[in-house]
């Protein structure tokens, strides 16, 4: 793994901007700025008698933004937990590959519907948790502030999480996931608990950080419109199998209500609801 001068996970915040607040201190940090693609072969997962995933074959090129939609209980969260290593598959293989198809360490992160912030840590300390144990404090602070600037929360650095709104908390959780520069980011209905307008803002934020950082993104959502708006590709999961795999051939930025996107959305909904 390359060891070199650490590059900001959120490079769109210039160093000069941050250094106006902090004395510059050169830091060496191991980072893998490499997006990790996925190669799934016959992946199965059962809980006792309940076979949740029934053989998933899927190739996701490094750096792609994939959305997974499907009815509640169809196994979306289960699949995500397998991808980030929170659970092991009961059958099949999951491999991580770089752009050239060579195996890589994924450095994967997951964001849940609940932000799961530590209420007894300040916002900055919560983000620093994302760097793992044993990083120097000053470095953790600096990176946390940088990541928080990337989610437009620079003014909340020292606050307790309890002082934030739901959307702000979820942005902190996003900053925590991004601060270590993941190669794969899994998002399990991350915007599901937010109100409609906050949601739209967050969708743009997610698109921005993804385009800036270039990780592979796997987003689970129950909102087909959101999937179509954000992703390069939408996968429909049904009873533990992939029932539809659809490219979204639209450039970004995408506008809400584009007719071409609405048409794709309608087609997806028909598939999910079994009308196709």
């Amino acid at each position: 793994m390359p060891i070199g001068p650490y590059q900001s996970p959120l490079a769109f915040i210039s160093d000069a901007e941050l250094d106006s607040h902090h004395a510059a201190q050169p830091v060496e940090y191991q980072a893998s700025p490499q997006p990790a693609g996925l190669r799934l072969r016959g992946v199965e997962k059962r809980f006792g008698d309940n076979q949740v995933l029934r053989g998933i074959d899927l190739d996701v090129p490094a750096g792609q933004f994939v959305a997974i939609v499907g009815k509640s209980g169809c196994g979306k969260s289960t699949l995500l937990r397998l991808l980030v290593g929170l659970d092991d598959p009961t059958g099949g293989r999951i491999e991580f590959v770089d752009e050239a198809g060579e195996a890589v360490e994924p450095n994967s992160r997951i964001v849940f519907q609940e932000p799961r912030l530590l209420p007894w840590f300040s916002v900055a300390d919560n983000v620093a948790v994302g760097l793992g144990d044993g990083v120097p404090k000053a470095f953790g602070r600096r990176e946390a502030e940088r990541a928080l600037a990337g989610v437009q929360l620079s003014d909340k650095v020292k606050d307790w999480p309890s002082k934030l709104s739901g959307g702000q908390r979820q942005r902190v959780a996003l900053a925590r996931a991004l601060v270590s520069r993941p190669g794969l980011l899994a998002l399990d209905e991350p915007l599901g608990a937010l109100d409609a307008l906050t949601r739209l803002g967050m969708q743009d934020l997610v698109t921005d950080v993804w385009r800036e950082l270039g990780f592979t993104a796997v987003l689970v959502t129950h909102d087909v419109g959101e999937a179509v708006h954000l992703a390069d590709r939408v996968i429909v999961l049904d009873e533990g199998r992939i029932s539809l795999d659809l490219e979204i051939p639209r450039d970004r930025p995408r506008r809400y209500g584009e007719p071409a996107l609405a048409e794709i959305e309608g087609k997806l909904l028909d598939t999910i609801l079994g009308k196709a």
């Binding site: 929170l86 992160r109 530590l118 209420p119 007894w120 948790v129 793992g132 309890s162 925590r176």
Partner: protein, 304 residues
């Protein structure tokens, strides 16, 4: 197996998931967890309710002041016999006299030291057992049932046995006080550790925490509100046990002072002893609350 082992293997997490803490585990007090959590969600930066009336700080003390004035008036007018109840002025005079002679400082010091050493010994044992049993399945299986059985014995009922074991010296008082504070601290620590949000523990593990760092960053702070509930209950029990054991046998301390005074019918000193016990109890509670507010300043339930 150590705490660290258990967590390193990720077994702590799974076990905490599966186990239900018996609802009787916390007879010493409701854990503020639920309330605190609700408050975390409910508080979105709204200002807290303003005091409705500027005299609010003074008003609660109006009734006690009136009662003391009535008491003094009754004594001065001769309605209340000195033998039954000394006048407030007589109590203050007794206080002053003993303060000047140095007896008061000595007795309070002795009682305070007894209370503190009991709290320290019993509290540490209860705390360590609570943590160990909250975190390690093995430790829990080995000791929890025993502790739950022992705690049903009223510790003051053991006085005859304790006197047989230790005589009537310091050891007996230390033993009783330690025993009294052990259980509330044990139960609330154990309960607190068991009820730490599993999602947060999983989050910690996802971000590479295990063993000591998981304990320090997630489990201990999560259990702290409940631990403080235990501490405040323990303080009450600590004074109660001390009062009882000092009045059985002692040759120093506040209980001794009160008992000697009773033999000489000095009601003013007896009442003085009551007031001092009350003041010490209040002081201990204020200290505990201050600690609590400082340590839990992240929690909206403790923010002002």
């Amino acid at each position: 197996m150590t705490i660290v082992d258990t967590f390193a293997e990720g077994r702590g997490l799974r076990r905490i998931r599966e186990d239900r803490v018996p609802s009787t585990a916390n007879e010493y007090g409701k854990p503020p967890k639920g309330a605190a959590e609700k408050a975390v969600r409910a508080n979105d930066g709204q200002p807290s309710r303003p005091r409705s009336f500027s005299g609010g700080a003074f008003l609660p003390y109006l009734l006690p002041v009136i009662l003391v004035i009535l008491w003094q008036a009754g004594s001065s007018a001769g309605f209340i016999s000195d033998r039954i109840m000394p006048s407030p002025v007589a109590v203050i005079a007794a206080f002053w006299e003993r303060l000047l002679s140095g007896e008061l400082a000595r007795d309070v010091g002795v009682s305070g030291a007894r209370a503190l050493s009991g709290l320290l010994i019993g509290g540490s044992i209860g705390f360590l057992l609570g943590i160990a049993n909250g975190v390690s399945k093995l430790s829990e299986q080995l000791t929890d049932t025993t502790l739950q059985m022992l705690r049903t014995i009223p510790h003051l009922a053991m006085i005859p046995l304790v006197i047989l074991w230790f005589g009537i010296g310091e050891e007996a008082k230390l033993f009783l006080t330690s025993l009294g504070v052990l259980f509330p601290i044990y139960l609330n620590t154990y309960h607190g550790v068991k009820n730490v949000d599993r999602d947060l523990i999983e989050m910690g593990q996802i971000y590479g925490m295990s063993g000591w760092s998981l304990f320090r960053k997630v489990i201990f702070p999560g259990a702290l509100p409940s631990i403080f509930v235990g501490l405040r209950y323990a303080l009450g029990i600590m004074w109660l046990t001390l009062i009882v054991s000092e009045s059985i046998a002692a040759n120093s301390g506040i209980g001794y002072m009160a008992n000697t005074a009773r033999e000489f019918m000095m009601t003013d000193v007896v009442v003085l002893a009551l007031v001092i016990y009350a003041a010490l109890g209040k002081l201990a509670d204020v200290i505990a609350r201050t600690l609590e507010r400082t340590a839990l300043s992240w929690n909206p339930a403790y923010q002002r």
